[in-house]
Symmetry: C2
Subunit: 745 residues, 2 copies
């Protein structure tokens, strides 16, 4: 897959179409066909390119290739392929193609296709804009208008169904012929849903023919004229210049983001692939969109933005490109009204963020998300109505962004308001239990979605209480540092009455604590009373491979088997509150009970394992999260629901496991902490991060940790490395010896 | 079926055994086989009797009868049968049999069997005690001891598995031979699980042979000797005397209970059959048992006592034999500690009565009650944990018993304590919602079990609030009339702190009210937002006949289709609080949405229909409830769970529909109200009832109501008949004219 945060193009071959799931997914443009799920719009595909040789379609769909290679140049974000065929007449035809999307002008893209043949032949190359793209709940674009310009340009445009937003994709054509290649006929093919140029060439033996397309994706007002102008401008610039600009930007990105592992090439590749996946879906161009759970790899999960972004992707961005983290969080500011509407819909006050958030922040999550494989009926799930931790996830992410970056602009520009409204939501949805003299948060779904509608979920209640604490700190900060904004917010939000309630509920909200003897935190009230069936036993009860394990009656629902890290996620988020013995006890208790039915699970088990010195298990789970889209073994169906695509949260988890787990990096408002735990076979780990505007490089080996402050830094920073306190001034390096590679081996 | 409140004997034929579901179910004795459901014990069957003629088994299991009749003499509670066969040799053999259980000594039973033949033959008659009885979760009795006395007595005894309670059944044999019948061989057959006497007779043509058995059922200490002594005593008394005593008691019962309908013989029969069913299962002999949901017809529903007794059967008993009502309610006093244990188990205070109550009051209801027909897996249901209205049902029944009978002994002897503990339970399980400044009762299951875990179920919340009101009134009554008991209870229950909370929660507990425009009460929060699929649409979605409609994902669970009267039951219980227009609006709204998947539903729709003058619908639902066990169409399976048997709650509902619905009888603490609504074709309805110790006879015709006070009454009673106020002195008759048969036609 390639992408630039505005468009994602699936890694299908040039000659592929709808039947092979070709799609160019647009970020931030959603459409709903009446009666279907609302989802992102897949733009017409301007990368379509088909080749015929002497009348034979040269494609793996019709011929068995002699050889085929397909790869991504991660450094420059280019998709490449090279396929060779031997035709029945013995002619050997080779097709080489490349495509990339610009990150300097996110509307722009480029593709080329070079065809050469060992024998003389007549070649036909067809390229154009194909509106017949893959859709899950489409078609979103109907009534295509196709046009051809006098200057070898094509345009395909159509409005979306729900709101009539114009979508336009333009293509500017350029060709290059080797000696022995001669152009012949040319035809324009206008279909109901596409426009293509078809060219014939006469080739002598060993001649080659290259076709280049400069493409442009647009939606909104003037989409057609902008797309055409953009395609022409790109062609005028030329392919090399376009590539050079984009590649330069990618070099900057990698310089900030790369994590180097010495001694483990597989892990190195998987980790770089993960970072690549994050970088291609992050929005460079706007703070009105965030990263959907399946990135820009299609329409799965309705293109919804989940908590995945705040909890699993954000640390990577806030440590390596805080301006991107800021944009992602600003999306939640822009969608605050949607969260308010959702709270109101459920009879609550404040902000109840969407479980699946699209352009407006209204919840795209449906009440019936999964189909029962036994009856074919929709299953009622409670993701939308009961997974109330989402608002806390948002509030915590905003707060931590400030703590980690020192940038208070987000708080000032809406972030504080989001926090206050999220806290108000928890004031509204907790209830007081007089018998126990405490507030409780009941009838929720925690991260472990197999157990729905539980009371006192430790993670959710702790997050709600944290949100109340953050709101109190936000108010204190506003009062001291932004008194006018403080006054304005309290008045506009009518918040004065809620301020004492923040204290009251914070002081008395029940959060399950570690058991005094075992250290285990009960995931929710009554969890320990559930059947203690082993994961193997529960798996043995499965009757159909894709059956859903939750939804009230699934095989896991009334056992202790959980879908994903839940209590363990809480320990990851607040390690300072839970001693290592408690973290270890909970990891050991919950790990064998976890199915990892969510791609969000493995990285958390890696992180908590690393935090308690269990690098062997940490490494196992790190590999699992880092290779999620490389093994081809990730879950493709739940019930009859297709959930395939990329997993940016797991990719973010790979960075966290490497840097925060093995690297042991923790940044607080006042200091940097490094407590490395390298896997036994790693010779070194290197990474870079930004903290409060300053840059730092870290190199960890089994014997020492080097923390280098960039020369341009402005602060002298306090750090705790392997338990040793030190100070790192701009342009200096601190070296700290380790005892055999791990602190608590 | 026959029964006497201590034993229920299924209406199977004399020659039937385990394979034909023969069972003699003991009231109040429960047993659990390890790993199975706990359920009542079926005693060995002493009614087994088999006949051979010249070596041929004379039974419908081996021969096709020429004729067969089987009936119950409702008046005397005798089961009778007469079956004739023509054997291959042309011999016509007739078997006549009768059996009854004594209601004057509830251990005693009697059976006879008369066999005659048209041709000379050799007859073998085997009778004895058969331990091979039907069990759902048995065997409960193993290791039988069998013995034979010198005086033609048999004894079969065995201990129960769980607690080793001895169970013994004895039989004393008597025979009578006509002229031409001669005894021949005699043998005693002792099997692993039975003991039988087998006798041969030589019969001349047209001779007959009668075998009588005096049987005795016992459990507990000295069961064997008591059973043997009881069987001998009954034989000494003689069959006629035994019958006469029992029949005399039955005559008394009918004199109090009978309801006469003129102009509708089918309805008359169905109603009498219903009253018979109630009378055979009500305990004469003890206040330690109550009536299980399937009476004594077997082990279905674990022999559990449900709210059925208090809400659907009790009105019949409290109006016609208050001493029986008192015993039934005393059972709840005896099981208060079980209810306390259940409350504690769920983290609550007070008394949370068992959903399925057995001998100790601990809940026999399992968490997985039903099997999914699609997967074969157990379905989690929330009957046990969430159907919290049960405690209110008990409290209300105790309170109403006092109001209706004037007998305060029950209150003094534990009833007041039950009420206070039930109210405390609601103090404990409601929570305060600061945003709404009210208490709410959330996450419950109302009578409509298809919708589990709902908030603010109108019925449940109203019943909880009523319990709080009753507790306040109970305290006031105690303080005034039983100051010592008042003081003792408050001290022993440590109740002082809860008294102000009764007022607080009563004042602020949210109970959904009728909509200002439509008059409809929303069954629970969010009900109106559910899919408004029609009952026919929902039925059309059913894939397998026995699939359960609820359990979270069933076809009704997320639609407005409900299992049974829920909000409408609330209107039935408190008609004075809801104007007729509201009752009519709710009846009309909920009736088309009700599946009547419970046998408790029809009578309530009959009652509320009658109350708003819709006698046509009232009659339709009355017939449905009164004929439930006559049509053979009641539900036999839910999932793979067998739920067949008798339906005493529906039988109680038939009495309520006739007397309280059509007769319009309502008794308050101070007066009697009669607002009759006869079905159009009924010429008259007559019934008798007791009120505060005095007896009254009512006769309703289309033209008048006659209320006759018995001469032995002691009070001059105020009555409101068809809206007219009057006074009815002992020995007098009040006649009140009606306008065309109905007051609000």
């Amino acid at each position: 897959m390639i992408g630039n945060g505005a468009v994602g193009v699936r890694g299908t071959l040039d000659e592929f179409g709808r039947g092979q799931l070709a799609a160019c997914t647009l970020a931030g443009l959603y459409d709903q066909v009446p009666g279907c799920w609302r989802e992102p719009v897949n733009a017409p595909n301007p990368f379509l390119c088909r080749v015929w040789c002497d009348g034979t379609l040269v494609s793996p769909l019709s011929l068995k290739p002699r050889s085929h290679r397909q790869w991504i140049d991660l450094r420059h974000a280019v998709h490449r392929r090279e396929t060779a065929y031997i035709l029945p007449d013995g002619n050997e035809v080779t097709v080489e193609a490349a495509r990339f999307l610009s990150v300097t002008d996110v509307h722009m893209g480029f593709a080329n296709c070079r065809v050469k043949a060992t024998r003389a032949c007549r070649l036909t190359i067809e390229a154009g804009v194909d509106g017949a793209v893959w859709d899950l709940n489409g078609p979103h674009l109907t009534g295509f208008g196709a046009s051809e310009g006098p200057d070898e340009t094509l345009l395909l445009a159509a409005p979306t169904q729900e709101q009539g937003v114009p979508v336009a994709v333009a293509l500017a054509w350029e060709e290059e012929l080797s000696d022995g290649a001669t152009p012949m006929n040319r035809a324009t093919v206008v279909a109901k849903d596409g426009i293509f140029v078809r060219r014939q060439y006469s080739l002598r033996a060993e001649a080659a023919c290259t076709v280049r397309r400069f493409v442009n994706f647009r939606f909104g007002d003037d989409a057609s004229s902008a797309a055409l102008a953009g395609a022409r401008a790109a062609r005028a610039l030329g392919g090399e210049a376009l590539f050079a600009a984009s590649a330069a930007r990618w070099a900057e990105r990698w310089a900030r983001s790369d994590v180097r592992i010495e001694g483990d090439d597989d892990a190195q590749l998987a980790l770089r692939y993960s970072l690549y996946q994050l970088l291609i879906v992050a929005p460079e161009h706007t703070d009105r969109v965030s990263i959907p759970a399946r990135g820009l790899s299609g329409q799965v999960y309705k293109g919804g933005v989940f908590w995945d972004t705040e909890m699993f992707m954000l640390p990577f961005f806030s440590h390596t490109q805080p301006e991107m983290a800021r944009r992602l969080l600003h999306y939640r500011v822009h969608t605050l009204d949607g969260a308010r509407r959702k709270a109101k819909e459920y009879g609550f006050r404040g902000a109840f963020y969407a479980w699946e958030s699209q352009d407006t922040g209204d919840d795209a999550c449906t009440l019936f998300n999964i189909t029962d494989v036994f009856t074919g009926r929709p299953l009622r799930t409670y993701f939308r109505d009961k997974q109330v931790h989402i608002s806390a996830d948002v509030a915590l992410a905003i707060w931590r962004y400030w703590k980690e970056t020192g940038d208070d602009s987000l708080l000032r520009e809406g972030g504080a308001e989001v926090i206050l409204e999220c806290a108000r939501f928890y004031l509204s949805c907790t209830c007081y239990v007089p018998d126990r003299e405490r507030y409780e948060l009941r009838d929720v779904v925690g991260p472990d979605e197999y157990h729905e509608r539980v009371d006192n979920n430790a993670f959710t209640s702790a997050m709600a209480r944290e949100t109340l604490a953050i709101a109190r700190q936000t108010l204190a900060w506003l009062q001291t540092r932004q008194p006018e904004l403080h006054e304005e917010l309290i008045a506009r939000l009518d918040y004065a009455g809620d301020i004492p309630r923040l204290d009251e509920v914070h002081a008395r909200l029940h959060v399950p604590e570690p058991d005094a003897k075992t250290g285990v935190i009960e995931q929710f009230s009554g969890y320990h009373a559930l059947e203690a069936a082993s994961l193997a036993e529960v798996k043995a009860r499965v009757l159909k491979a894709n059956e859903y394990w939750g939804a009230g009656q699934g095989v896991a629902a009334h056992t202790q088997v959980i879908k994903q890290a839940d209590t363990v996620l809480l320990l990851h988020l607040f390690p300072e509150r839970y001693p290592a013995a408690v973290r270890r006890a909970n990891w050991e208790f919950y790990e064998p009970r976890t199915e990892h039915g969510s791609s969000l699970s493995a990285c958390i088990y890696a992180l908590v394992a690393a935090g308690v010195g269990n690098t062997e298990w940490a490494y196992r789970y790190f590999l699992k999260t880092a290779t999620i889209d490389l093994t081809g073994q990730s879950k493709q169906y739940v019930g009859t629901l297709y959930i395939g695509g990329t997993h940016p949260a797991a990719n973010g988890g790979a960075w966290m496991a490497a840097v925060q787990g093995f690297g042991g990096l923790r940044v607080a408002a006042e200091r940097i902490i490094l407590e490395p735990q390298l896997p036994a076979h790693w010779r070194a780990l290197e990474f870079r991060f930004q903290w409060h505007g300053d840059w730092f490089d870290v190199r960890v080996t089994p014997h020492e940790v080097r923390l280098a402050a960039a020369a341009g830094n402005v602060q002298q920073v306090e750090a705790t490395i392997a338990g040793e306190h030190c100070v790192c001034a701009p342009g200096t390096v601190v070296v700290c010896g380790l005892n055999g590679g791990a602190l608590h081996a």
